[in-house]
C-alpha cells in the first residue's frame, strides 16, 4: 500500500515503474544491507545442515517467521559451530545479506550465543568436546575414607549449607571450613575458582573440597557450565566433590569433579562416614579379632598336644618299660616252656625208668653169667686137653727134628758150603766160579773161602 501512496517518489526519481530484475535486486540489496547494518537476532535453530565446504546453514525461526542463516567456515569466532542442534534457542550477531543471484536474503552470523537451557546444553557439549581428556575417569582422585578436614564452597545463606551441616553435625569428627561465594549470577564461577585456589594454597590440610548449591533455574546454574570451572577444578590438588543442581542433569562442574552427588545432603552422607556404622563395624572387628585370636590359640594348643603325644611316644622310660615288659614276658614264657619241657622230660624219664625197671637185665646177666661160667669151664678143660696133645705132638716133632738136624750131620764131620753172595747151599761145583767167596759151616765155627778152581763131576 505504501508503494501506491508514494508513486511520485518513484516517478520523480526513476520516472518509470518498469524494472529489470537486477535493478530491483540491487535496490533490495541496498535497502536491506543499509537499513540493517549489524544486528542481534534471537530464534530457534531449524533445518540445520553442514556443507562440504564447512559452512553451516540453518533457519532461524520463531512461531511466525523464518530467516535463512549462514555461518561461514571462515568465521572462526563462532564457538559452538560443531555442537549446534535443531530446536536450540540462540542469540546471533551478524548482518543481513541479499544475494541477487538467488534472490535470497541470508543472515550472516558472526557470533552465536545459545540462550536458556539450550545455552547450557550447547556449552556443556562444546566444553566436553574441547576438554575431553580432562573428563577421563582415570584422572579422578580418590576421596579419603575418614576425612578430618573438609571445605565447603557455597553460599553462606543458601539451603545447601544448612542441609549439609544438618547431616554432618553428629555424624563424624570433622572440621568443616566454609568458604562463602556467590553460587549464581555473572562471575560466580570466578569466585568459586578463586576459592578452590585459596583453599589449595592456604588451607593445605583440607582433604576434600565440596562445591555445592541447591537446585535452581537453568540460568542460575550457568556458572557451573564454564571453562573456568573446568580449569579451576582440574588444577586442584585436593579432591573436589560437586553437588550442584539437579538430580538428572549433570553440570560441567559435576562431570569434571572427582566425585558427584545429586544433593548437598547426599554429599554429606557420602563424604563423611557414619559414626554409628563405624561403631557397629568396630564391634564386628572386636568379635573377629577375638575369634581369629582364639583360633590361632587353639591351633597352637592342638599342635602342642600333638607334639606332647609324639614326645610321649618317644619317651625313653616308656620305651625301656616296654622292653622290660617284653623281656619279662619272654622270660616268663621261656621259664614256663622250660619247666614244661623239663617236667615232660622228667615224665618221660620216669616212664623210661619204670620201663627200664621192668626190663632190668640182671636176670639175663645171671643166666648169661652161669652160661659163661659153664663155657669158661668147658673152655679151660678143652684147652688143657688141646695143650697137652699139642705138647706131645711138639715133643715128637722135636725128636724128629733133632734127628734130622744138619747140625747133627755136621757133628759127624760133614760141612755145609754156602755161597757168601746169596747164602745158597752149594750142591754142585757148577754153582760157583773162580773167585766166588764161600762160607763153610763146620760143626764148630765157619770158614770164609775163595774158589780157586772148579772141577765138574760126572
Amino acid at each position: 500500500m505504501t508503494l501506491w501512496k508514494t508513486p511520485n517518489l518513484f516517478f520523480t526519481e526513476q520516472e518509470t515503474l518498469y524494472f529489470k530484475v537486477k535493478e530491483i535486486a540491487r535496490n533490495l540489496k541496498d535497502l536491506i544491507e543499509k537499513n540493517f547494518p549489524v544486528l542481534w537476532v534471537e530464534g530457534e535453530i531449524a533445518n540445520l545442515r553442514y556443507s562440504h565446504s564447512g559452512h553451516v546453514y540453518f533457519n532461524l525461526i520463531d512461531e511466525e517467521a523464518s530467516l535463512k542463516a549462514i555461518i561461514f567456515s571462515s568465521q572462526k569466532d563462532v564457538l559452538y559451530t560443531d555442537a549446534l542442534k535443531n530446536g536450540i534457542q540462540v542469540l546471533c550477531l551478524g548482518r543481513l545479506n541479499f544475494y541477487p543471484k538467488s534472490g535470497e536474503c541470508f543472515f550472516i552470523i558472526r557470533r552465536l550465543e545459545p540462550v536458556g537451557r539450550g545455552l547450557l546444553i550447547l556449552k556443556k557439549e562444546a566444553l566436553i568436546k574441547k576438554y575431553s581428556a580432562l573428563f577421563d575417569p582415570n584422572r579422578k582422585k580418590e576421596l579419603p575414607r575418614f576425612p578430618r578436614k573438609i571445605a565447603l564452597i557455597t553460599s553462606l545463606f543458601g539451603a545447601a549449607l544448612r542441609d549439609f551441616l544438618k547431616i554432618s553435625a553428629e555424624r563424624w569428627e570433622v572440621k568443616i571450613l566454609v568458604y562463602p561465594v556467590r553460587v549464581q549470577g555473572e562471575g560466580a564461577e570466578l569466585e568459586i575458582v578463586q576459592a578452590i585456589k585459596d583453599i589449595n594454597e592456604y588451607f593445605r590440610d583440607v582433604e576434600v573440597i565440596v562445591i555445592t548449591r541447591g537446585g535452581g533455574a537453568f540460568e542460575d546454574l550457568a556458572p557451573f557450565y564454564t571453562e573456568e570451572i573446568i580449569l579451576g577444578i582440574k588444577n586442584s590438588r585436593i579432591p573436589v566433590v560437586s553437588a550442584v543442581g539437579h538430580e538428572i542433569d549433570y553440570t560441567i562442574c559435576d562431570l569434571i569433579a572427582d566425585k558427584r552427588y545429586p544433593t548437598p545432603s547426599a554429599a554429606a552422607q557420602e563424604i563423611l562416614p557414619d559414626k554409628h556404622k563405624i561403631l557397629a563395624e568396630l564391634n564386628i572387628y572386636r568379635k573377629k579379632l577375638l575369634q581369629s585370636f582364639e583360633q590361632k590359640l587353639s591351633k597352637r594348643e592342638k599342635k602342642l598336644m600333638n607334639l606332647k603325644l609324639q614326645l610321649e611316644e618317644k619317651n625313653p622310660f616308656k620305651l625301656l618299660h616296654q622292653i622290660e615288659t617284653r623281656l619279662k614276658n619272654f622270660i616268663h614264657r621261656f621259664s614256663l616252656g622250660f619247666e614244661r619241657f623239663f617236667s615232660q622230660k622228667e615224665k618221660e624219664l620216669l616212664f623210661f625208668k619204670e620201663n627200664l625197671k621192668k626190663h632190668h637185665p640182671l636176670q639175663k646177666i645171671r643166666l648169661k653169667e652161669e652160661k659163661l661160667q659153664e663155657l669158661e669151664l668147658r673152655l679151660s678143660k678143652s684147652f688143657a686137653g688141646f695143650l697137652e696133645k699139642k705138647q706131645r705132638e711138639l715133643q715128637a716133632g722135636l725128636k724128629l727134628l733133632e734127628s734130622l738136624s744138619p747140625l747133627k750131620v755136621l757133628k759127624r764131620g760133614y760141612s755145609m758150603v754156602v755161597k757168601l753172595e746169596d747164602q745158597k747151599i752149594v750142591k754142585r761145583a757148577s754153582q760157583v766160579k773162580e773167585g766166588d767167596l764161600l762160607e763153610i759151616y763146620l760143626s764148630e765155627g765157619k770158614i770164609i773161602a775163595e774158589v780157586k778152581k772148579t772141577i765138574a763131576g760126572d
Binding site: 575418614f146 556467590r182 561403631l279 568396630l282 572387628y285 579379632l289
Partner: protein, 83 residues
C-alpha cells in the same frame, strides 16, 4: 607413636591386624601382641567416635589474608557487607 595416632591410622592398622590374624600365621607371642594391640585400637577408635561431631568455621578473606569466624558471626559480617 600413640601421640600421633589418628583415627584413620588406627583403623587401617586394625584392619591390617585382622588380616594378619585371619590370613597370616604369626608366632604365638606375635599373635598375643597383635590381639592386644587390636583391642587397644578398637577402644581408641570407639572413644574418638563417641565424641565425634562436626565443627564449623567460615573462611573470611580480607585482601590477601584469611580469618576464621564462627558461622553466626560470619553471617552477621557478610549480611552487613551486603553479600
Amino acid at each position: 607413636m600413640e601421640k600421633e595416632l589418628t583415627f584413620e591410622k588406627a583403623f587401617k592398622r586394625l584392619e591390617e591386624i585382622l588380616k594378619l590374624l585371619e590370613e597370616g600365621d604369626p608366632e604365638l607371642e606375635e599373635a598375643i601382641a597383635l590381639y592386644e594391640e587390636g583391642v587397644r585400637l578398637i577402644q581408641f577408635c570407639e572413644e574418638k567416635l563417641k565424641k565425634a561431631r562436626a565443627r564449623v568455621e567460615v573462611i573470611l578473606k580480607e585482601g590477601d589474608r584469611f580469618r576464621l569466624e564462627t558461622l553466626e558471626k560470619a553471617e552477621e559480617i557478610l549480611k552487613n557487607a551486603g553479600k
